[in-house]
Amino acid sequence: MKFKCAELKEYEIVGRPLAKNDEKMPVYKMTIFAPDEIVAKSRFWYFLRQLKKVRKVNGEILRQTEMSNTSPTKIKNFGIWVRYDSRSGSHNMYREYRDVSRTGAITQCYRDMAARHRARPHSIQIMKIEIVKAADTKRPVIKQMHDSKIKFPLPHRILKFNKKSIFVADRPSTMRPMKMGSCDTVETCAVEEAWGLCE
């Protein structure tokens, strides 16, 4: 189906069933993550049809806006509630991702689900995405990043292909002096900021 783009976009879509006479029809709003507008609309109707008695034929989209990133420079922990169809049934999941944006986290989620569970995007439904405070995160992969003095080496560094040396006599060395250390010095900073600040 979809999702081959670099990053998904977040759309807020508002739609309602068509009003026959002057009767007031309920209006429904959904947040859809999709690669483009058209897919977003399609998914909107897909979900709405499942939840309410509306079909695209009998309905109209009132508004579709692309939601922009609220704080693209703040690192956040996202908790994503997913429902997906595996080969033998449907399951709920709670997954956590660390990213700078909601769309980034959701994109990670889709890629991750595909990798770990062979779940195709059409069988994944994002139920909810929320920013989670560092203290409330559950997954150890995420929790291990909550270290203000985080340090790790980058061993076996394969640098991007250098056009100069496509054929070399000896194997290039992957031992490059790279050790990631974040904020080792505490002198200037008296107070440690709480990790995972909510927006």
């Binding site: 660390r98 991007k160 990631m180």
Partner: protein
């Protein structure tokens, strides 16, 4: 936080710029900011970074203003441009920008230098030969 240069052209126009690692997003990405080198705060893969030996004392996820202050106080740009690494990059850059006339001049300059060296070498060699005899 560690200062590093951005190496490759995923973010093509930011290639080779100095940037401070402000925070770590996950195993592959860092939050990076270069207020003094014109790089906006963004997330970037470690693969696109080369660590330099310079560090600046900032808290993790410090804001751009704080990063700038610490950067300027530590005089990172100055120290960087004085480092051999930066000089090598600069000379590499210069070499690639040479015009044909520049290359000609370079050839002549090298020739002149090598002549001086070889004359001296010749003198030493003759002296050694004489000493042997």
């Amino acid at each position: 936080a560690v200062v590093s240069t951005q190496s490759t052209g995923a973010h093509g126009d930011d290639k080779g710029k100095l940037v401070a690692i402000v925070d770590v997003i996950d195993q592959n990405r860092a939050l990076v900011d270069g207020p003094c080198s014109g790089v906006g705060r963004k997330d970037i893969n470690f693969k696109a970074l080369h660590l330099t030996p310079f560090t600046i004392p900032i808290a993790h996820s410090a804001r751009s203003g704080a990063v700038r202050k610490a950067w300027e106080k530590a005089e990172v740009t100055k120290k960087w441009s004085e480092s051999t690494w930066a000089k090598k990059l600069a000379s590499r850059e210069k070499r690639s920008q040479l015009s044909d006339f520049d290359r000609f001049k370079l050839m002549k300059a090298k020739q002149a230098r090598n002549r001086i060296i070889n004359i001296e070498f010749g003198k030493l060699r003759n002296a050694a030969r004489k000493a042997k005899k």
